[in-house]
Every structure is written in C-alpha cells, then in structure tokens.
C-alpha cells in the first residue's frame, strides 16, 4: 500500500509522548492520589514536548529530503477499525501522516507548546489555590498538546475526530482549571458546551462525507483516499426541501464543517466561550488561543481544502462569518478594560481574517496568518501574564500604566514581537499576512466582495487601534498602580523571559517565512514566499488571478494606512489627549458598554435559547413526559397492572417447591423439542 521509503516510525511518538505523559500524571493523581515532586513533574512534562519537537524536527528534515514523487511520510501503527469484506470493506488505520500542511502545524504546535510548558513552570509555581494544582496543570497541558498533535498528524478523519474531541476536553479542563471558583467552572462548562455544538457539526459532516464516499464506491476516511475519490463527488446535488433549487452536496457538508470550525476557532455565532476563556491561567490561554483550539478550526478547513474549493456556498458563508467576526471582535477589543479580554477578542478577530482567507480560497495565506498569529499572540500572552503577575493579579488596564520603567525588558519584547507585528507594522509578518488576505479577497468573486474589502480594511484600522491602546494603557502614560504593589514590581526570572524571547524571535522572523512574491520580485529574490511554495502541493488554492500592479499597491497602501490611522488614533486618544477620550467615551457610553460586553452575546443566547429550552424541558419534558407519561403510566401503571394480575392469579403458581418448578420447566422444554422434531 505504502512505499517503504515513505515510512517514518518516528511520527507516532510526536503525539503519543505528550499523551502518555498526561496519562501517567492522570494515573498518579487520579488513581494513586499521590502527586510527584515538582522537579519530576517539570522534567517529565517539559521533556515530552521537547522530545516531540525534536521528533517533529527530524521528521520534517526527512520530509524535505524526500525524492520528488513523494510528498508525505506515513506511520501506520495498526488497523484501528476494520469492517466489511471485499469491495465494500472499510478500514481506518491508527496512522499518522506528515505532509507539508501537517508538518507546518506540527512544528507550530510543538514549538509553541514547548514554550508554554517552560513558561508555565514559573507561572504555576506561585499558584497556591489547589494542593495538587501544579501537576494537574501540567497534566492538562500535556493532554491538550498531545490531542492537538493527534488531530494534526491524523491520517484519517476518524482519528482526527478523536483528536478534535480531546482538544475540546483539554480546553474544558484548562479553562475550568480553578474549578473551585464558580465563575471559572462555569466558563469551562460553557466552552465545553459550545465545543459540543461544533462537534455535532463535525460528526454530521463526517457521517455525510462517509455516506457520500461509499455511494461513489470509495468508502474511506483517509485524507489521501478522500481527495482521490472526491472528483466524482464534487458535482453531486440533491433537491432542496421545497424542490425549488438544487443544492450541492459538498455545500451541505462544507456548512457543517464551518459550524465545527466556528466553535473551535470562536467565530461569530459560537464565539461566546472565548471571552470567558480568560478565566484560565495565562499559560493555558497562550496554548488554547494560539496553537490548539483556535488553530484547530483553521487546520480542519485547510485539511479539507479540496472540499471547500468545490463548495461555493460554504466558502461564501465562511468568508462572511470570518469577516464579520474580524470586524466585530476588533471593535469589541477596542472597548475592553480587561487586559486578557483584549487579547481574547483579538484572537477572534485574527482568526476571523484567517477564515476570510479560507473562504476566498487562499489557504496558504490562512495558514501563514495562523502561524504568524500564534507566535505573536503567544508572545503577547506571555507578556500579559508577566504584567498581571507583577501586579499581583490585577487585570484591569485602568489600574496599570507606565510599566516601561519597571519592566523594561518585558516592554521591549512585547512591543517588538507582539504589539507592532499584530498592529501590522509594514514589513512585519502581520503586515504581510494581512496583505495576502486582502489580496485574496480582491481576487475572489464572492458575493458582496466590496463589502468584505471595506470590512477587512476597517479591521486593520481597529486592530492597530486596540493593540496600541492596550500597549499605551499598560506600559506608557501615567501610572495608576497602587503604591504598595508598585514597590514589589520587578522583572521576571529568565525562566519566564526565555520563552518570551523565543516567541518574539519567531514572531519577528515569521515575516521571512511568508515574504510576498510581490516584494521578492522587486528586491530580486526568487520564490520568496517559501511557506506558500512549500504548502502549494498540498492545498487546493484558488488560481491566483493576476492583479494589476495598481491594485496591489492600493492594497498595500490600505494596510499601511490602516496601521497609521489606528496607531495615530490610539496615540492621540490615550497619550496625547486623554480628556478628549473622556468626552468621547462619555457621549457614547451606552454603545461602549454594549461593545465592552461583546454586544451582549451572552444575554442574547440566554433569552433566545437557554430560557426557552429550560421552559420546554421543565413543563413539557419533565412534568409532562417524564412524570406524567413515563413515571405515571408506564412505570407505575405497569407495576400496578402486574401487581393486580399477580395478586389474583399468578401467586398460586408460587408453590415453594424448587423441583416442582424444574418439572414444569423441563415439561415445557420437552414440548418445544417435540414440536421441533415432529
């Protein structure tokens, strides 16, 4: 089946090592109830991501060194599910594959994961809320990371589904980590429930896909097989319920997948878990919002890019959902007071841009955006965690300010690797990826394309505005920190700064990964966009129509001017002229309150869904069906009927003579036998 040359027995260890370590922790905590010494926890928990990263690096080197005809490495551990015989047989392997897409994601997850693990050592060291919290936290981190690697490396959709569910579980565990605090526990449950909605979409999509593929005679779940057999499927249609129009089958599957990705990556209707995610410890946020949950949605879409390339309706929906989320979340981020809240809405907004890219058929741009965003956001979270820790848990930006004097190193790192890149400083990865996405939007022929362009441009303005506002409030201006707290502030240890350095470096140099061809041509570098060229064979990118040079310049100018306008506005309002800010915010207080609460999404959900559901389940299901029908009629009624029957007749058979019963039994058996052999 697989050419021997393309086997890579190393692959299985990449996801299995962190998962095994998580299991080990789980056993010692849950079964033996005996936590380990901190040193042992750190060695084992941080060793697994390190080894995973090493393994990922070696496999990546092998992948790159492959001869031309091969573009993936495969590691089949065993046949996981086998059913049927002959032509109708179906089997899914417990197997891992490494192609360009999963290689990029694997390297991303392992590197960010390792940084988060190292960062968490110091961060969680101060956590005294729970006696076994230290080891438990690392257990959850390992689990989440291993699950994401399982998802990324899975060779087939079913194994990916397993990883998908585990990532959801990991997010739930990490968000609700301080479960003794009701709000944290609530946030965890909320994330879990929202994830389940998305899981439902994925499950429906998987089942429909499998059904459709078996219909065309290729019952497989492996990505390679699916892609090969997809051609026949792409044009299948069926009639809409009212018979008015024909719907593409792939569109329906695609919409289900969009639902799944929306829940994982916190896009508009299902975004409500992400603002609450800030409840989790900061290293967990850094992991969930960059490399695991948030990235998983985009990865799913890109992994099945061949499907979306053939599904116009799903792509359009995707682009619109992403673009709306990007703009709304960027606006909401601008109104936040909570430092981590800004970052959370920022994550939503950035992933919205990635969704827009996927919707426009620019899958490589989406992946580049996700990768760049992961490094930037991780650096920002590390910085935010450091700030919050040095302020002894304070998260409200109104009580910060002027930290540049106390935390110069942190400030420098956050500014160069986080704030400026995210804001889209020309020449940075954020600028390039934003450009690519905007170009893709220009090229595409989606309905309402111009509105998408305008919204994307507005997003750029607001992105620069909110992140610089956040930076000014925290590091510049006047200090609003309490005197008591201020006295104890100091730069964090090298254990914290180390991962931050790493992420900042990666974030700064990420721009080299996706250096646009447009600029490359101008300064004389062939094929400068190395990431896109690496990914090209795997992803079914939309054909890149040649745009006029004028348009390209216009797009670049709009990106740069977005950065300038947003940045200047933030500078004007928050450093130069705070009084104007007070006046402005006073005049639009209601609007600001709405923005700050994330447009009251939680309230809307509560009124539209939760209360009606509760009402129905209480009045109809509980009192009507459960108590009335099932308890009253079925259970008690049946019992009463039997009791009456037994009281009047059956009790007389109960003679108390065991062998009497035996005689009757044997008599009955004999009668049956005689009937059978008659």
């Amino acid at each position: 089946m697989v050419d021997e040359a393309f086997r890579e027995p190393l692959l299985r260890w990449i996801p299995l090592l962190p998962l095994a370590v998580a299991l080990l922790h789980g056993i010692s905590l849950g079964v033996l109830r005996r936590p380990w010494a901190r040193g042992a926890v750190i060695a084992v928990s941080c060793g697994a991501p390190l080894l995973s990263l090493l393994a990922a690096g070696i496999s990546f080197a092998h992948l790159v060194a492959l001869p031309d005809e091969g573009n993936l490495l495969l590691d089949v551990v065993y046949t996981w599910i086998g059913a049927g015989l002959g032509d109708a047989s179906f089997s899914a392997d417990f197997a891992f594959q490494l192609d360009a897409l999963s290689a990029v994601m694997t390297l991303l997850v392992t590197s960010v994961g390792l940084a988060v693990h190292v960062y968490a050592i110091d961060y969680m060291d101060h956590d005294e809320r729970d006696d076994r919290g230290f080891q438990r936290f690392f257990c959850h981190l390992n689990l989440t990371m291993g699950a994401m690697l399982l998802l990324v490396l899975a060779d087939n959709l079913l194994l990916m589904l397993a990883g998908w569910q585990l990532v959801g579980l990991g997010a739930y565990l990490l968000i609700g980590f301080w479960y003794r605090d009701a709000t944290h526990a609530y946030a965890g449950s909320k994330a879990f429930i929202v994830h389940r909605v998305g899981d439902f979409g994925l499950l429906v999509a998987v089942l429909m896909l499998f059904w459709a593929l078996s219909d065309v005679g290729a019952p497989t779940m492996a990505f390679r097989g699916m892609e090969a057999a997809f051609g026949e499927l792409a044009t299948r249609t069926f009639a809409a319920p009212d018979g008015s129009a024909e719907i593409l089958l792939v569109d329906v599957i695609g919409l289900c997948l969009v639902l799944a990705a929306c829940a994982k990556s916190a896009q508009l209707p299902l975004h409500i878990w992400l603002p609450d995610e800030t409840a989790s410890p900061t290293p967990a946020s850094a992991l969930i919002q960059t490399a695991t949950s948030a990235a998983a949605g985009v990865y799913l879409l890109c992994r099945l890019s061949f499907l979306f390339a053939a599904a116009p309706l799903a792509s359009t929906t995707l682009a619109w959902v992403g673009c709306c989320t990007a703009l709304f979340a960027a606006v909401a981020a601008a109104g936040q007071r909570d430092l981590k809240g800004v970052l959370a809405y920022s994550t939503m907004s950035q992933l919205g841009l990635a969704f827009l890219a996927v919707g426009c058929g620019a899958y490589t741009a989406a992946i580049f955006h996700v990768v760049a965003h992961a490094f930037v956001k991780c650096a920002l979270f590390f910085g935010a965690g450091t700030v919050i820790q040095s302020l002894q848990g304070e998260r409200d930006m109104r009580r910060m300010g002027a930290l540049r004097k106390r935390l110069p190193k942190t400030r420098f790192l956050v500014l160069t690797g986080g704030v400026l890149v995210l804001a889209g400083l020309p020449g940075s990865a954020g600028f390039f990826s934003y450009d690519e996405i905007l170009l893709a939007a220009y090229r595409s022929s989606l309905p309402g394309r111009e509105a998408l362009d305008w919204m994307a441009t507005a997003t750029a303005v607001f992105t620069a505005f909110y992140i610089l506002r956040c930076y000014f409030l925290v590091f510049e201006g006047d200090s609003h920190v309490e005197r008591e707290v201020r006295a104890h502030m100091h730069e964090p240890s090298n254990l914290v700064l180390g991962p931050l350095y790493a992420m900042v470096l990666l974030a700064v140099f990420a721009s080299l990964l996706g250096f646009p061809e447009f600029w490359g041509d101008r300064i004389g570098i062939e094929d400068s966009n190395s990431l896109a060229n690496f990914l090209a064979p795997v992803l079914s990118n939309a054909p890149a129509g040649k745009l006029s040079e004028r348009t390209e310049w216009a797009v670049i100018a709009s990106g740069a001017s977005g950065f300038m306008v947003g940045g200047l506005a933030a500078w004007w309002l928050y450093l130069r002229n705070p009084k104007l800010r007070a006046r402005v915010s006073g005049s639009v207080a209601t609007l600001l309150g709405l923005v700050r609460s994330g447009y009251g999404a939680d309230e809307i959900y509560d009124r539209a869904l939760v209360r009606p559901l509760l009402g129905v389940s209480d009045r109809v299901l509980h009192r009507g069906a459960e108590q009335g029908l099932i308890d009253g009629l079925a259970v008690n009624g049946l019992a009463r009927a039997i009791w009456l029957l037994a009281q009047n007749s059956l009790r007389h058979f109960q003679s108390g003579m065991t062998q009497g019963y035996l005689v009757v039994t044997i008599g009955g058996v004999l009668c049956i036998l005689l009937y059978l052999v008659r």
Binding site: L670, L673, L674, V677
Partner: protein, 172 residues
C-alpha cells in the same frame, strides 16, 4: 490393531466410564465426596472423548475449567459445609420407586428425541475429524463469536458479584 479401531475401542470404553461416573454421582448419595469424584470421572472421560473427536482445545479447556477449577470449588465448599453422610440425600423406599419409574420414563423420552434428531436431521456424510486446535478456536472466539464471548464474560462477572453478595454475612 489399527489406530482407527483403537480409537473406536477407546471411545466406547470412555463412553461407558462417563455413564458409570454419571450414574455414580447419582447413586453414591451416601458419600458426597465419592459423588463429586465420580462426576470428575465423567468430566475427564468426556474430555478424552473430545480428544478422540479431534477437539483438542475443547478437551483442554474442559479439564482446565471444569475439572481443574469448578469442581475443586465444589469440593472446597463440600469440605467447608461438611454434610453428614445422611444429609446429602434422603431416601425412603417410596421415593426410590418413584425415582426408578421417573428415570425410566425420562430415559425413554430422551432416546426418542435423540433418535428422532439423528434420523430426521439432514446430516452430512461421515467425515474425517478436522482440526480442533487452539489457533482455530481462538480466532473464532475473537472474531465471529466476539459478542457471545463478551456475553459470557458479563455472565461470569454477574456470577462473581452474585456469589459475593450471597455469601457475605450481615455486619461484615
């Protein structure tokens, strides 16, 4: 004496032993130990018959599970409760007559059924015994018969739980 005919003689010999053992477990009521031992004779003879019919694996399992474990458990309980020789089975003359009549009737019915089965079923012609090794049996057990095996596992679990619950004394 060829091997085949030796097998035939062995078969009837151990068949007779099995019947004797069965009768013994019934008739040796005065001595509970002897009754159990004669049941063991039956079980062992049956496993010899299985070997002669080519079912080696079944024979081994029969010895291992039935004789090796289940009947030892029986002996263990027998030694624990220590029934007095008369208590194992009371017999009065009237009962003996009823027993003999019942046994004869049951035997008649049994043979009628067995005969009918053998005559009426569309049985294939006699064939040489095939394999009955562990590999074949094991493959069948974990593939085709996976569900029955799981069901038996559940039954055994239920039996264990039931046994523990029944024998647990109050207040312990």
């Amino acid at each position: 004496m060829t091997l085949i005919s030796a097998q035939v003689y062995l078969f009837y010999g151990f068949a007779g032993l099995a019947v004797l053992g069965a009768l013994g477990s019934w008739l040796l009521v005065r001595n509970a130990m002897a009754a159990v031992m004669s049941l063991i004779v039956t079980v062992v003879s049956l496993s010899v018959l299985y070997v002669l019919m080519g079912a080696h694996a079944v024979a081994a399992l029969q010895l291992l599970i039935q004789a090796g474990t289940a009947l030892v458990l029986l002996l263990f309980v027998l030694l624990l409760v220590n029934p007095d020789p008369g208590g194992f089975g009371t017999r009065d003359p009237g009962q003996v007559v009823i027993q003999i009549i019942g046994a004869a009737a049951a035997l008649a019915v049994g043979f009628v059924i067995a005969g009918t089965v053998s005559v009426t079923l569309p049985l294939p012609a006699e064939a040489a015994p095939g394999s009955g090794g562990f590999r074949e049996l094991g493959v069948q057990l974990v593939t085709v018969y996976a569900v029955p095996v799981e069901a038996v596992g559940l039954l055994l679990l239920a039996a264990v739980v039931g046994a523990v619950v029944q024998t647990r004394q109050e207040g312990r």
